[in-house]
Structure formats: structure tokens, C-alpha cells
């Protein structure tokens, strides 16, 4: 099951493969109780252990729904989800989730936020030493006693990453984790996430709106379409790492994806380039 693009030197191999088999999910339409929104329609996807896969597509294509199903926060109407040989039935510490909003617990200090996962599993006492390691890993040792509202967006997102990683998840689900950051912080954080990924070998699934981010980071890019949410295409990135954001191959791939998403240029008529989703 192990896919391509596994980096050469890994310290750890925590990741596990992920299989999504013919998964469908409906939601009731908010304004019409009889109506149903087809969030996902028979979606199948296999992600190898330690693979980093991006999901892109316009709003409403079911990217976040798919992530919530993998996290176990929602249950599919049909189909199966597997991590390794285990079916997904409920949320678990082996599938970490990081949102666009860091969602740090505001009543806990940075250190306690990072400890939260250990505490929730009741293993804080035996694994307390690791907390320091993870704070160092994300470069926040000097902020241990700060409360979240004192942190900048980038720092808060680093805490959120550390909080998810301290449980050594087999799969890390990233729902536009860098979407709220400014462009420079975002590029730096992309490198940090890649460093974490290479060091730990965690399987990562990244939902993003940013095509550059998807190309820069992932081994494969899954392009989804809305209504009903389906996988339209899967693109192998195949560029050597570390990737150059302005290399011709990078830009060519970017152009291809834009074309697939119908964003090649401003349409002259209203019919021209498909709807621009916010």
C-alpha cells in the first residue's frame, strides 16, 4: 500500500495507510427539511502510509466533510473507511485533526493545551517528558505559560499542530490549517509542516484552497467537484523535494490544475469560465 514519494531519511514511521471505499454522505438542506445536499457521492480514495495528499476544489465539494468522516466526527451514509486494518467508527486519538482556526482551549496555557491529548487519554503522568519535546519541536518553549489569546496566528497554529502530534497519530487531517495566515507566515509554516511530516512519517491529508500549497507540499493532489461531491481527478506531483515554487515544472503543473478547475483566465462572457467559488 505504500505510495510513492516517501522521503528517504525518516526518524520515525508513525503513519498508517488509509482507505476510503465508496463513501456517500448527505445532509439535510437548511432551508428545506425535505431536501438533501449530496455532500459526498461514492468517493473512493487510498492514501499510502506516510503519504501527504492534498484535497482541493471549490466550496461545497465535500473536502471538509470527507475529513470529518475520516476523523470519525460524522458517520457516512454508505461506504467504509479504514485506517490500516481498523474500520473507522468513532473519533480516536490516532487520527488527529487541525482546523483553520487553531481552536486552542483558551482557558489552558500553551503547555496545557499541548498536554491536553495526553490528559484526555489519561497518560499524562507517564508521558510528561514528551511535552517538552513537542514544545521544542514547534519552537514554543518560551511561551509555555502564555494563554492562547497572546499568541499570533502562526504560533497558535503551531500549538495546534503540537497538540495533535503529541498523540502520535497515524493519520493527521489538516483542514486548511494555514488558510488564515498571511502569505509569508504561511510559506514558512508549509516548510515546518513538511519538516514534521518528514521526521515523523505521519500520513497527512491536507484540505486547501491554495493550489501552490498543494503542489509544494503533497505527493498527490485530489481535485474534487461539488454537487454532488466527487473526486474528479488525482494528480501525481512527482517533483523532487525540496520543491522550487518558481521552477518551470511547478508552474506548468499549476497551470494544468487551474485549467482543470476552469480558472485559466477571466471569462469574457458570463458562461465562460465556470463559477468562481468563494
Amino acid at each position: 500500500m505504500v505510495a510513492a514519494a516517501a522521503p528517504s531519511a525518516r526518524a520515525l514511521n508513525e503513519g498508517s495507510d488509509l482507505r476510503i471505499v465508496e463513501v456517500s454522505k448527505h445532509f439535510p438542506t437548511p432551508d428545506n427539511p425535505q431536501g438533501r445536499t449530496h455532500a459526498l457521492d461514492r468517493v473512493s480514495l487510498s492514501v499510502g502510509a506516510a503519504e501527504l495528499v492534498s484535497l482541493i476544489g471549490p466550496s461545497g465539494c465535500g473536502k471538509s466533510t470527507l475529513l470529518r468522516l475520516i476523523a470519525g466526527l460524522n458517520v457516512p451514509d454508505a461506504g467504509e473507511l479504514w485506517v490500516g486494518s481498523q474500520p473507522i467508527t468513532a473519533p480516536s486519538a490516532e487520527r488527529g485533526l487541525v482546523f483553520q482556526d487553531p481552536n486552542l482551549f483558551p482557558w489552558l496555557t500553551v503547555r496545557r493545551n499541548i498536554e491536553a491529548g495526553l490528559m484526555a487519554r489519561g497518560v499524562l503522568d507517564e508521558k510528561r517528558d514528551e511535552v517538552q519535546d513537542f514544545m521544542r519541536l514547534v519552537g514554543l518553549e518560551s511561551f509555555a505559560r502564555a494563554y492562547p489569546h497572546h499568541l499570533s496566528g502562526g504560533m497558535a497554529q503551531r500549538v495546534a499542530l503540537a497538540r495533535a502530534l503529541i498523540n502520535h497519530p497515524k493519520v493527521l487531517l489538516l483542514d486548511e490549517p494555514l488558510g488564515a495566515l498571511d502569505a509569508f507566515t504561511r510559506m514558512r509554516m508549509q516548510d515546518e509542516v513538511l519538516t514534521l511530516w518528514e521526521a515523523r512519517g505521519t500520513t497527512m491529508l491536507l484540505v486547501t484552497h491554495d493550489i501552490d500549497e498543494a503542489i509544494y507540499m503533497s505527493a498527490r493532489i485530489v481535485i474534487m467537484t461539488p454537487r454532488p461531491g466527487r473526486i474528479e481527478q488525482i494528480i501525481e506531483v512527482g517533483l523532487p523535494r525540496p520543491r522550487q515554487r518558481n521552477s518551470p515544472e511547478f508552474l506548468r503543473l499549476r497551470g494544468n490544475i487551474l485549467e482543470m478547475l476552469h480558472f485559466t483566465g477571466r471569462p469574457l462572457s458570463a458562461e465562460g469560465g465556470g463559477r468562481r467559488a468563494e
Binding site: 481552536n103 482551549f105 482557558w107 496555557t109 491536553a116 484526555a120 494563554y147 489569546h149 495533535a164
Partner: protein, 353 residues
């Protein structure tokens, strides 16, 4: 337009740095004043309490010459005490920066309080504008408080006991009710209507029932105070727990949290700001209920003392009890604020109230 605003500004900044305590009510304008003015300002502030005390003593001496019937001793001692303490503090702040900061903040307001005493005395014993048995002078009130101190201390202790046991009982029950109703849909279905029907009845309306039901007045007073606290604290706990941000719960679940962790470590801390609003509201209603319950049922406590003193037309004692109530309730309120600041330290800088 510009010149006119400058002209307005000028006299204000000149008026502030005087040593006359009457001008100390304008400390805000002094913030931008120059260094020399600042020092004079501070001297004025530091001496405000002894100066006002001396003024009050002078007024008292003038007034009690017309009024030999009131024994002036205690009030004179009190004002002498504030004079001495004020003077000592003004000297002590030279070596104690913490005291200086406190005095810088508190002296104007304390001097203002003393000024009110002067006004009170002038109106009552000075000009006798108010009918006497009902409106004694501050000296008369202090006199009554000191002579009746044993009963007052006992009443205060009794009130404190009733209030604290009632309040804590009410809060404990309310937290359990609130968390259950806020978290479990079944508890919400059955509990919410009950709360909505019973809760809004003022606790004091239960007095007749409480007197029938409970073996002792003391017990019924505790029950009534608890009931008064229960409703607001439950309501706000429910809204706090039920409105826990879904994403906090989602994150906690993906971190491996079980139900117990979600309630204890996510929903309750998330609800804490709301719970504290309920605690403050409950404290207000508990004061009210306590005094009413003591007046009608229990034969002790400050509420009872007020009624009893009024029965004997001893209005000095009535006001004495009111003074103690004010000090007593505001101390408890301050204590709750301190607890709030400790518990909600994570909100510091984000929320002000």
C-alpha cells in the same frame, strides 16, 4: 475651532494641582500635567484624608456645642483615628511604593467619604433639617453601633452563616442542574420546563411555604437563599455548557477525549465566564432573600436586627446595621470578584467587566 479648544484646556490643567481637597475630584485631568504640578498633586492627594478628617473634627466640635445630649466620644475617636492613620500613611508611603500606589488611587475616594460624613453631620445635628428620631447624626449612629456591638457582631455572624451556607448549597445544586440540563438532551427535555416554571418565582414568595415546611427558621432561610441562587446560576450554567463551541468538542474528541473529559475539561471551563455571571446575579438575589427571610422567619441576623431596632425606634441602630450590611455585602462581592479574576485569568485582556 482649534484655538477655542486650547483655551478650554488651559484653565482645567491649572486648576488641578491645588492642595485643596475639594479639587481632588478631578484626578483624570492630572495625568498629562507637568512634573512639578504632578508632585504638588501627589501631596494634595496624600494629605487629603488627614485634612478632611481635621475638617470633620472641626465641624463636629462646632456642632456638638449645640448638641450636648449626644456623647461625642466615639465619633471624635474615629475621626482622630482617620486623621492619625492618614498622616502616618502619608509619611509611610515615602519608603513603601506599594502603599503610595494604593494611596494615589484611594485617597481621593476616602476623602470624599469623609466629606459625605461632614455633610451628613451638618444636615442632621448642625442645621436639624431632618426630623430627629429618624435621622440621627453620624456620631449618633456610631454611638449606637459601639454600645450595641455584641448583638451586632452576633447578628452579622448569623447572617454570614446563613448567607454562605445558603449560597454554597444553591450554587452546588445549580451547577449539577445546569451541567446536566446543558449537556444531556434528556435532562434538558424534563428539566428545562421545570426550571422555566419554578425559577422565575421570587424566592421570597416561598416564605409562607418555607415556614410551614421547615422545622426551624434558620433552616428555611438557608433553603430560601439557596433557591434564590439556584435559578440564575442554573440558567447561565445551562447556556454556557450548551453553547460550548462545537469545534472545541470536536478537537477534544480527536485528541481521544471521553465523555467525562468533554464535560469536565471542555464544557465546564468553556462555560465558566457564563457561570460567573450567574454567580454574581445569584449573589445579588441572595442578599435580598437573606434579609427578607431574616425579617420574617429567623430571629437573628442583620435583617432581623433592623426590624427589631426599628420596633424600639432606635434609628441609630437601624443605620448602624445598614452600614454593616453595606460593608458585609460589598466585601463578599469583592471576594467573588477576586475568585473570578483567579479562575478566569485566561480572559485577562480580552474581556472587561
Amino acid at each position: 475651532m482649534n484655538t477655542s479648544s486650547v483655551q478650554i484646556k488651559e484653565p482645567v490643567s491649572l486648576a488641578v494641582p491645588t492642595e485643596d481637597p475639594n479639587h481632588l475630584a478631578l484626578p483624570a485631568e492630572a495625568a498629562g500635567a507637568a512634573g512639578a504640578a504632578d508632585v504638588r498633586m501627589r501631596v494634595g492627594k496624600l494629605l487629603a484624608v488627614p485634612v478632611t478628617s481635621a475638617l470633620a473634627l472641626a465641624v463636629h466640635g462646632w456642632v456638638s456645642r449645640n448638641e450636648p445630649s449626644v456623647d461625642p466620644r466615639f465619633y471624635t475617636i474615629f475621626l482622630g483615628g482617620t486623621f492619625a492613620i492618614g498622616l502616618l500613611a502619608a509619611l509611610g508611603q515615602v519608603t513603601w511604593p506599594g502603599l503610595r500606589r494604593w494611596m494615589n488611587h484611594m485617597c481621593p475616594i476616602l476623602a470624599g467619604a469623609l466629606g459625605l460624613l461632614i455633610l451628613w453631620e451638618v444636615i442632621t445635628s448642625g442645621f436639624r433639617w431632618l426630623p430627629l428620631p429618624y435621622f440621627p447624626s453620624p456620631a449618633g449612629v456610631l454611638q449606637s453601633m459601639v454600645t450595641d456591638r455584641n448583638l451586632l457582631v452576633e447578628s452579622t455572624a448569623n447572617s454570614l452563616l446563613l448567607l454562605l451556607s445558603g449560597y454554597l448549597l444553591g450554587v452546588a445544586v445549580a451547577l449539577v442542574t445546569g451541567i446536566c440540563i446543558g449537556w444531556y438532551p434528556l435532562a434538558r427535555y424534563w428539566g428545562m420546563p421545570l426550571l422555566k416554571v419554578i425559577g422565575p418565582i421570587p424566592a421570597t414568595a416561598w416564605v409562607p411555604l418555607a415556614m410551614v415546611l421547615s422545622p426551624s427558621g434558620r433552616f428555611s432561610a438557608i433553603g430560601l437563599v439557596a433557591l434564590a441562587v439556584w435559578f440564575p446560576v442554573s440558567m447561565l450554567t445551562i447556556s454556557g455548557v450548551a453553547n460550548t463551541r462545537a469545534s472545541y468538542l470536536d478537537v477534544a474528541r480527536t485528541l481521544g477525549a471521553n465523555q467525562k473529559y468533554l464535560i469536565l475539561h471542555v464544557a465546564i471551563p468553556a462555560a465558566m465566564p457564563n457561570i460567573f455571571i450567574g454567580l454574581f446575579m445569584g449573589l445579588g438575589t441572595s442578599f435580598l432573600t437573606l434579609i427578607v427571610a431574616e425579617t420574617v422567619g429567623v430571629k437573628s441576623g442583620l435583617g432581623w436586627y433592623v426590624g427589631w431596632a426599628q420596633g424600639w425606634a432606635e434609628y441609630g441602630k437601624v443605620y448602624g446595621a445598614l452600614v454593616i450590611m453595606a460593608a458585609f455585602f460589598s466585601t463578599i462581592m469583592t471576594g467573588l470578584f477576586k475568585i473570578r479574576d483567579r479562575v478566569l485569568v485566561w480572559q485577562k485582556g480580552t474581556i472587561k467587566w
